[in-house]
């Protein structure tokens, strides 16, 4: 039935709709460079979403845990075999993404009679020098983007753009880890609030009587509102953070932030929710 080109295009379109739907409940992921490396932040529900891939590579993901796990394993396998056969410095995020998993994700997406990967992936790479730091994001259809400074994963392109705009606007020249964590959590809240807003808007559309549209174009919430939003959610969820630290001893630069680190680094308004 997919032999006809039109049918195929239609099927891929349906698939996009289906996949977009899957990310609505997902938690955004924020990657931000700071003066000592790269910080990854998310607020996860149960399964962790941040992982170590190689000496200088970290992974953040949104979507189905099993799909994420599958792709995480292929990244690990490729990275370690390459690092062993050639050298650790030949293992780069851009090679793993462009020639490794992006084609696999694209193929799964376009084979409409098979299941696609329900994932959005972020690969952070700590360069030998700060200007070599790279952040790569891959969408569920295999399209990837490489940026520097900041990158996010969120349910829709619009929300992503909103978060990136916020990060750009609020980011001074260089951030300390503490400042970066504070800003990342606020950007996360922007994303999370936007997800909630999208859902509310959709429900409003379904019920035309409640004509309170236009609220989606509201001004950017203040710092306190954003932190309060995170605070409100942390009871049932967990702040998950990891860093790639340029000055870390040894070859592995990845370090998940433990509770003790978080208590030290988090904005005071959030201390009470972590230290229990």
């Amino acid at each position: 039935m997919y032999e006809e080109p039109y049918r195929w295009v239609e099927a891929v379109g349906n698939r996009r709709q289906y996949l977009d739907e899957q990310f609505k409940q997902g938690s955004p992921v924020v990657a931000l460079t700071y003066d000592g490396g790269i910080l990854l932040t998310t607020v996860s529900k149960g399964t962790p979403k941040l992982y170590e891939i190689y000496d200088r590579l970290a992974l953040g993901g949104m979507g189905h845990p099993t799909d994420l796990e599958k792709l995480r394993f292929s990244l690990l396998e490729m990275a370690h075999v390459e690092g062993f056969n050639r050298s650790p410095s030949d293992v780069t995020g851009s090679r793993l993404v462009k020639y490794g998993i992006a084609p696999v994700i694209k193929q799964a997406f376009e084979e409409v009679y098979k299941a696609p990967f329900i994932v959005r992936i972020l690969v952070a790479e700590l360069g030998q020098k700060p200007e070599k730091d790279a952040l790569l994001t891959i969408n569920y259809d295999g399209t990837f983007e490489e940026t520097t400074g900041r990158a996010v994963l969120a349910a829709t392109q619009t929300v992503q753009a909103k978060m990136v705009a916020y990060l750009k606007e609020q980011q001074p020249a260089a951030l300390s880890l503490e400042q970066a964590l504070d800003l990342s959590l606020r950007a996360w809240a922007i994303g999370s609030l936007a997800h909630q807003q999208d859902e509310a808007d959709q429900q409003a559309e379904a019920k035309p009587l409640a004509s309170s549209a236009g609220s989606s174009a509201a001004a950017i919430p203040s710092r306190d509102v954003l932190i309060a939003h995170v605070r409100g959610l942390v009871g049932e969820r967990m702040i998950e953070c990891a860093v790639l630290e340029r000055q870390a001893p040894g070859t592995s630069k990845y370090r998940p932030l433990k509770q003790a680190d978080l208590v030290r680094l988090l904005p005071t308004a959030l201390h009470s929710v972590v230290a229990h």
Partner: protein, 257 residues
């Protein structure tokens, strides 16, 4: 399909073999000329190795590093054919990292020991042929048990725990006796030595080994060449810089007779 998180299995699936295939007894014996030693002191374990690499009676290189860090808490000191030994260290390094990153937990200390044994077992044909024998000393800090441990191996992969100390290489017979003597009748057992005392003993032991074994390089002050000494404690592996060894050597090792 191997166990999950097994990097060596993954390599094998891709057609990798450790060492060149050899027929038994076809090679000629290559010396395992070197001296490496490890002993427990107050805060953990000290591992040391001289820096000379030889081929027959030729000195090939005087700056070899035979005490290799595998991860934050384990070190392998190698005696034997360097090509195979370095390759083993590379495999182990990647195996431990791969296990940690895939399984999201550190490989247990016993698991690490098994990994070393397995590599040595796979290397038996090359070892018997004489082209790939490796006799390592594996040292690490077992974080679960909170104690430092020393293990030494034969070329077939059998593992033995060195309760107080272990030695390997051509210079080892000389210092094995000294270690036994020091530990049994010395002023204090090795395990009571402070960090500085332990470093002094290590320098003296390697100097003694170099005295009687031509294949062991001692200290070469003119070239500022000191042995590699690493300390493993709960905090991880720490390499002692030459700047620390130099004054210790000059004040407590050199004797003008």
């Amino acid at each position: 399909m191997g166990m999950p998180g097994d990097f060596f299995q993954l390599l094998k699936e891709q057609g990798y073999t450790l060492g060149a295939p050899t027929a038994v007894g076809t090679g000629h014996a290559l010396t395992n000329a070197t001296t490496i030693l490890a002993f427990k002191y107050r805060d953990g374990v000290l591992v040391a190795g001289d820096r000379r690499a030889t081929a027959g009676n030729m000195v090939m290189y005087d700056r070899t590093d035979k005490v290799l860090e595998i991860d934050r808490h384990s070190v392998m000191a190698i005696a034997g054919v360097p090509a195979t030994a370095y390759e083993m260290v590379r495999v182990l390094e990647h195996s431990f990292k791969y296990y940690r990153r895939t399984q999201l937990q550190e490989l247990s200390f016993d698991g690490k020991l098994r990994a070393v044994s397995k590599l040595l077992k796979d290397n038996v044909p090359a070892a018997l042929a004489g082209t790939g024998a490796v006799v390592p000393v594996f040292v690490g800090y077992d974080l679960e048990q909170g104690s430092a441990k020393i293990y030494f191996y034969d070329i077939l992969g059998a593992e033995f725990e060195g309760v107080e100390y272990a030695v390997s290489g051509s210079g080892s017979p000389t210092i094995r006796g000294i270690l036994h003597y020091l530990n049994t009748w010395g002023e204090q057992p090795l395990s009571a030595l402070s960090e500085e005392q332990a470093m002094v003993q290590a320098l003296r032991l390697l100097t003694s080994a170099a005295e009687f074994d031509s294949a062991t390089g001692g200290v070469n002050r003119e070239a500022s060449l000191y042995p590699v000494i690493k300390l493993i404690s709960v905090a991880g592996v720490q390499t002692v810089p030459d700047a620390t060894l130099k004054p210790l050597y000059e004040s407590q090792v050199v004797r003008y007779v």
